[in-house]
């Protein structure tokens, strides 16, 4: 039980997917302009990453590993995750238009998010079983959401400030993200 909780906390804080592993930076910087959009993206990422981890884990344990096709995992995962997101999108569009509308364009955007593939591959590397994989995926996604919501709130504050001209726009965002990354390094001192 303790190890399961540890996996989640590790995914969310200690090995934060954006700030410590530098995956999914594109959407992290691109979508963090507005609080609402970043929260929506966070929700979509939690949704997709959890499901993707589960499917990738099943596929790896039952198909790739027994057949000795370990080396094909990247390609298979890309294939499956991309299709999965499409299916999830269609499913949501039909069954719950409200959720579909809330997630909006972010759902298909995540298809190409390296963080989703990254977490599936990391799970395999750490030899997690099915339950551990799902929890790791969920934890990582929570970490992503945390990071992007934090950056969005920082950016909304920055917008009010009178910045020196050369720092305006992208530079100050990158600096803020870097400082956040340094701050998150502090979590690596967590011990249980």
């Amino acid at each position: 039980m303790k190890s399961l909780i540890l996996i989640m906390i590790s995914g969310a804080l200690i090995n934060n997917v954006v700030l410590n592993q530098f995956l999914g930076i594109c959407s992290f910087l691109g979508v963090s302009k507005q609080m609402k959009a970043s929260a929506s993206l966070g929700g979509a990422v939690i949704f997709v990453m959890t499901i993707a981890s589960a499917v990738a884990s099943i596929l790896y344990d039952n198909v790739l590993k027994p057949l000795g096709l370990d080396f094909m995992k990247t390609i298979v995962f890309i294939l499956v995750i991309a299709a999965l997101v499409q299916i999830v999108e269609m499913f949501l569009k039909k069954t719950s238009p409200a959720v579909y509308k809330a997630l909006g364009i972010y759902l298909p955007l995540i298809t190409t998010n390296c963080a989703v593939l990254g977490v599936a591959l990391t799970n395999v590397q750490n030899e997690y079983n099915f339950i551990e994989s799902v929890l790791a995926g969920f934890g990582t996604a929570v970490g992503f959401t945390l990071a992007i919501v934090l950056l969005a709130s920082i950016r909304s504050r920055i917008r009010e400030e009178d910045l020196p001209a050369p720092l305006r726009g992208a530079p100050i965002v990158l600096i803020s993200a870097a400082l956040m990354s340094i701050a998150f390094m502090g979590f690596s001192g967590l011990s249980f």
């Binding site: 000795g68 390609i75 298979v76 039909k94």
Partner: protein, 271 residues
């Protein structure tokens, strides 16, 4: 060898299963979308220039179908596109005539002089911000080419110190109209060749002093016109393109020859 075979088979099988799953889900969870939206989107040019005021062609198509935009919203596609969209939407499109950008200044080096030498950033907006007026005429083209920078079609060039639009390349996106700090550029119907090539609102003598080709606001053209298609406001003639019949009477009588004659007579009258 065996491992290659297994890999190929496994990946193919996974691919087929995934593909079949997608097809199945696509059929099963098919949601009716307005077919017209896709059809309208087909008609639009698809270069997402944003000249219509929407985020792109997809957004414009959605707005047209939703009734938030007229069928002739796309200035780039012009009449033919509006007609086809009108056909889809079941209304008669008001045919939007193809427009082109037109620089209302004739102040080449032959007719006017520069009063200042500007050595800053080579951009009209910078020059205006710096408070420098390069030509003697307060209303004249600076010739630094802000319009060239913003033009997505490379349709504008500087000839003899004045910006000139190539009507064949222009898509009437209006970016140069916004960029010109002197407000010299306007969008005019392409077929209306009779245009006043000046923006100077000063009184006649003042114009004469700075430019030999400037509109002096003498109203000679207004008297010539039988169709009420030309007017003089603030010492500047302006053609009302809706009324103009391209007879060219105004251009013939204009003492400073600042009105462009219609295409048929362009050869006879030296511009």
């Amino acid at each position: 060898m065996e491992i290659i075979l297994i890999t190929t088979v496994v990946i193919t099988v996974i691919g087929i299963i995934v593909g079949a799953g997608l097809v199945f889900t696509g059929k099963k969870f098919h949601v009716e979308v307005d077919e017209r939206e896709a059809a309208v989107r087909e008609c639009l040019p698809g270069n997402n220039c944003g000249a219509c005021g929407f985020a792109g062609c997809d957004a414009a198509a959605a707005a047209i179908v939703a009734g938030d935009a007229p069928v002739n919203v796309c200035p780039v596609g012009g009449g033919p596109v509006a007609e086809r969209i009108g056909g889809i939407m079941g209304e008669n499109a008001e045919i939007l005539e193809r427009k082109v950008a037109f620089v209302r200044c004739k102040g080449t080096c032959e007719v006017t002089k520069n009063q200042a030498t500007y050595v800053g950033i080579p951009d009209c907006r910078s020059a205006v911000l710096a408070g420098v007026n390069i030509p003697e005429c307060d209303y004249g083209c600076l010739g630094l080419g802000s319009c060239i920078t913003v033009c997505p079609q490379n349709a504008i060039s500087i000839a003899d110190g004045v910006a000139v639009v190539n009507g064949d390349l222009c898509v009437a996106c209006g970016l140069c109209v916004k960029a010109c700090p002197k407000n010299l550029i306007e969008l005019v119907p392409e077929s209306k060749k009779v245009r006043v090539q000046c923006s100077n609102r000063d009184k006649g003598p003042q114009v004469k002093k700075v430019c030999s080709a400037g509109c002096i606001g003498c109203s000679m053209c207004v008297r010539q016109c039988q169709f009420d298609a030309i007017s003089v406001e603030n010492n500047l003639a302006h053609v009302n393109y809706d009324n103009c019949t391209q007879c060219g009477a105004c251009a013939e009588k204009c003492p400073v020859k600042v009105i462009i004659p219609p295409a048929a007579k362009q050869a006879e009258i030296p511009a």
